[in-house]
């Protein structure tokens, strides 16, 4: 396959950045999108040109590092992460536009790499059960219904890639935050702090500069782990309960 690539290049956080055009040949349909990027980088290095920076690590869809906007769609044309997008989903001779995530709370650091530390800070605000090592009771002493355990796991699968934010016209992080709030809120272990948690995490989310949710579900459509927007409704309910009734009734 021969491809025309239009790739965002930006030297550093303060650089203005621009698109750069590259044409590459010899791409095999079974290659992953990142392996295609490797081919380009190997070529650039051999020409003594600076390689294109992009986040990637596990290359099997679980670490959540990779983060490319491909032809205007977060992670590209198929559902899944960028690393699990395969060239067989593109046409020979196609032009592909590759950009970083675009969101105020995800500043671009270099080329296709963005700063997602705002996600870490939201989790630091309350995305945990306050339990120290040492005093945990026997694992089976806290029964969890299979329905709730499965639902909690559906939410907990979030890989924190940020595609939901990138896809949202408001750059909202509601799906990400809702996944964490949902995961812990559905389990008895997380219940004691549930009301506080949702308030703290939402307020940190707002402070980080993420937009609000206007129910377009673009986030759900691109989420590589298929996390349901129902968790956003659940979080809204929890938030309302926690703010309108600050004390449990």
């Amino acid at each position: 396959m021969k491809l025309h690539l239009k790739i965002w290049r930006q030297k550093g956080p303060t650089d203005q950045g621009q698109f750069e055009n590259h044409t590459i040949d010899g791409i095999i349909p079974d290659m992953s999108f990142l392996e295609m990027m490797d081919v380009l980088n190997v070529k650039l290095a051999s020409e003594g040109k600076q390689t294109i920076a992009f986040d990637h690590d596990c290359r099997e869809g679980i670490c959540g590092s990779c983060s490319m906007m491909i032809n205007g769609r977060a992670h590209g044309p198929t559902r899944g992460t960028t690393c699990q997008t395969y060239m067989r989903n593109f046409r020979d001779g196609q032009t592909i536009v590759i950009e970083p995530w675009r969101a105020m709370a995800f500043p671009v650091m270099c080329d296709l790499v963005v700063d997602r530390s705002s996600f870490d800070r939201i989790q630091q605000a309350g995305g945990y059960v306050s339990v120290n090592v040492g005093g945990a009771p026997d694992g089976n002493s806290i029964p969890v219904s299979k329905v709730n355990a499965d639902l909690a796991m559906d939410a907990a699968q979030c890989i924190g890639c940020g595609a939901c934010v990138a896809a949202c016209k408001n750059a909202s992080a509601m799906l990400f935050v809702a996944a964490k709030v949902g995961h812990l809120g559905l389990l008895p272990q997380g219940e004691a702090e549930a009301r506080d948690r949702v308030k703290k995490m939402v307020s940190r989310m707002d402070a980080e500069g993420f937009g609000n949710c206007t129910n377009h579900y673009e986030c759900e459509a691109v989420c590589p782990k298929e996390i349901s927007a129902d968790f956003i409704s659940k979080m809204n309910r929890d938030y309302l309960g926690a703010t309108v009734f600050p004390k449990p009734m």
């Binding site: 290659m31 679980i62 395969y86 945990a136």
Partner: protein, 637 residues
């Protein structure tokens, strides 16, 4: 060098309790005066950093990823072992200990393994309390599955993403401590060197991969939890960024590297497809609970799998190892797959593959149950290969997955450099010559939550807090070494990317130090590696500047270390003149082709000591002296 493993005296079951009683404590008010550096934020590092901070120490964490949550532990799929005996199937701490010792082909330190089995029980409790969403049964109790090398069901799991969920648990505890100001997290920082002052580990040199700045960080103790070196083979199931640099730099500063030749080849991975490939994807061992492995009986039989009748299939694991069948340990299953392919019975285009077939299980349990157990793995397989594993069997082949070797540590997980602790895959301690499935997560968390917090406290109790200063000459020297090394890489200005050299090195070590090794092959490798290294330093191209983000430079620095480390690995492999676990020397095998240990001469840990540039490393030995389990022929028949 005389190696003192500091194993407490007394009966096996009492050693850890005795050790805990013997170790010193630090007064709660004094704990905050101590500063500990933790490199790596996976299960071992994340758990250790959170636990130390909970105790009251000041902790700094460093990871090369953009968030502690992305450490390679996140990729572990199948599960975590614990001797809970919730199944009532005869499990116990003793049995988990015995399985692990036997699984490691009697090349692990008994006392460490026993402590691991003891701590396994607490790990599950801790993780449940953190909110890890383990699989449950309808009654609300924790569910279990089976893994290789065991005849009990002791593996706890979160669908096919157990590593992810356990890591997110540790990450959440870490986050709580970051919020409270007890942990300072440094993501996108890569450790470039260890600083040793007066023989003690006192700090590290890191490169900030955003600004390119080289920084000095001092501490009262340094913990390396930087993972394994499987990417020395280039193609592996490890994340692309996994590297040997942190441990190898510590080696060059005097820490001993133990058993580097023990590298685990995992039997169930998606086969290599082409030269462009950057990564091999694991299909969890848990699949062997329900999948059956087979090849056609006739070599060269290239009919589609559905048209090969039952009578013309060879379910070779079930045939050769009837009592463990498809759940034979990893090293044995991998070699059996290689053997079948060497005989020409391999399947798929390249002939390097075997079938993992779920037809029976789907017939027995229905597609829905199989999807519930392994849905994400089946999806992943379909994504990558474009084939539907519900309809036709998966094709799998062994791939590099984990390394049992690592920095040498004593019973208290401290290396021979006082103040340098090594946890998780980065150390050598618990898995001997072969690791059983679902044991890496167990070890990482046992080290981080339940062992290191005690042993590090004991060490700190004997150290004056805050005595390490980044202005010391040792820091300046180490910093200048790092800067010079990076500059040297950039000054080569050759024509080839570091990835090209990495691929070449990977092929070389896979060929000569992979699933089967010979003296002849290893001798050849030991000649070829220095040649490749020389070419690297003449021809590598690292464009861009040292300031700011430069992923090409990061990679080149890692590859440069691999090119040196590979030689230590092959040296270890050539000097271990026996077969044990994952280390299979073709010269030493039984008539049936099984690994043949030589307990009389090789029941020891090889610990390699850096002897200086261009010199062969010094071979130190820690005798294993098994006291409690008599090594026997490891039979899974």
């Amino acid at each position: 060098m005389k190696l003192d493993p500091r194993v407490p005296a007394g009966p096996l079951a009492e050693k850890w309790d005795r050790c805990k009683m013997e170790m010193k404590l630090v007064n709660p008010a004094n704990k905050r005066k101590y500063h500990v550096i933790v490199v790596g934020t996976g299960l071992a590092g994340g758990a250790c950093a959170a636990s130390l901070a909970e105790l009251g120490y000041q902790v700094s964490t460093f990871c090369y990823q953009d968030s502690p949550r992305r450490a390679h532990s996140i990729e572990a799929q199948g599960g975590i072992n614990a001797a809970k005996n919730y199944r009532n199937d005869g499990d116990s701490v003793e049995r988990l200990f015995l399985d692990t010792i036997k699984g490691g082909d009697y090349r692990a330190r008994e006392s460490n393994v026993y402590r691991l089995a003891q701590n396994s029980v607490n790990i599950i409790d801790q993780c449940v309390a953190q909110g890890v969403p383990f699989a449950r049964e309808y009654g609300g109790q924790l569910d279990n599955r089976s893994f290789g090398g065991a005849q009990v069901s002791r593996t706890f799991y979160c669908r096919g993403q157990t590593g992810q969920q356990l890591l997110l648990g540790a990450y959440s505890s870490l986050n709580r401590q970051i919020e409270q100001g007890n942990v300072k997290s440094h993501p996108r920082h890569e450790m470039m060197d260890l600083v040793v002052v007066d023989g003690k580990a006192k700090g590290i040199i890191v490169r900030d991969s955003v600004t390119g700045q080289i920084e000095r960080h001092s501490a009262d103790a340094v913990v390396l939890a930087s993972g394994g070196y499987g990417t020395v083979y280039f193609l592996s199931t490890n994340a692309m960024g996994c590297n040997v640099s942190a441990t190898f730099r510590a080696y060059k500063r005097g820490a001993l590297f133990a058993n580097p030749c023990y590298t685990q080849i995992h039997p169930t991975c998606i086969p290599v497809n082409g030269d462009y490939q950057s990564k091999l994807t694991l299909m969890s061992e848990s699949l062997r609970n329900d999948g059956r492995i087979w090849v056609p009986q006739k070599p060269g039989d290239n009919r589609p799998p559905a048209s090969i009748p039952e009578s013309e299939r060879d379910y070779y694991l079930e045939r050769k190892y009837p009592s463990y069948g498809n759940l034979a340990p990893r090293d044995i299953s991998s070699r059996a797959a290689k053997e079948a392919c060497d005989q020409g019975k391999g399947v798929g285009q390249t002939g390097r593959g075997v079938y993992l077939d779920f037809a029976d299980a789907i017939g027995r349990l229905g597609q829905r149950t199989i999807a519930e157990r392994y849905g994400n793995l089946f999806d992943m397989y379909a994504h990558i290969t474009g084939e539907n594993p519900y309809q036709s069997p998966m094709r799998i082949y062994p791939a590099v997955h984990y390394v049992m070797g690592g920095l040498w540590v004593d019973y208290r997980l401290m290396s021979n450099i006082p103040g340098l602790f090594v946890l998780g895959e980065a150390n050598f301690s618990d898995h001997g010559a072969n690791r059983l499935g679902a044991s890496a997560l167990m070890q990482g968390l046992a080290d981080g939550y339940f062992t290191a917090p005690y042993t590090i406290t004991d060490y700190l109790a004997g150290v004056k807090p805050g005595s390490s200063d980044v202005k010391a000459t040792e820091f300046a020297q180490a910093e200048s070494d790092v800067s010079q090394r990076l500059k040297k890489l950039q000054d080569v200005k050759g024509k080839h990317s570091s990835q090209a050299f990495h691929r070449e090195l990977g092929k070389l070590v896979w060929e000569y130090c992979g699933m089967a090794r010979t003296k002849e092959g290893l001798t050849k490798a030991l000649g070829l590696i220095p040649e490749l290294r020389e070419r690297f330093w003449k021809e590598v191209s690292v464009p861009g500047s040292g300031a700011g983000m430069n992923q090409g430079l990061e990679n080149a620095a890692r590859v440069a270390d691999f090119l040196e480390f590979a030689e230590v690995m092959c040296t270890d492999a050539i000097t271990r003149e026996e077969s044990c676990g994952a280390h299979f020397r073709e010269e030493y095998q039984t008539e049936e082709g099984e690994a043949q240990r030589n307990d009389a001469e090789y029941s020891f840990v090889s610990a390699w000591e850096y002897a200086g540039e261009g010199k062969a490393p010094i071979w130190n030995k820690e005798p294993l002296n098994p006291e409690f389990v008599k090594p026997s022929v490891r039979s899974y028949k």
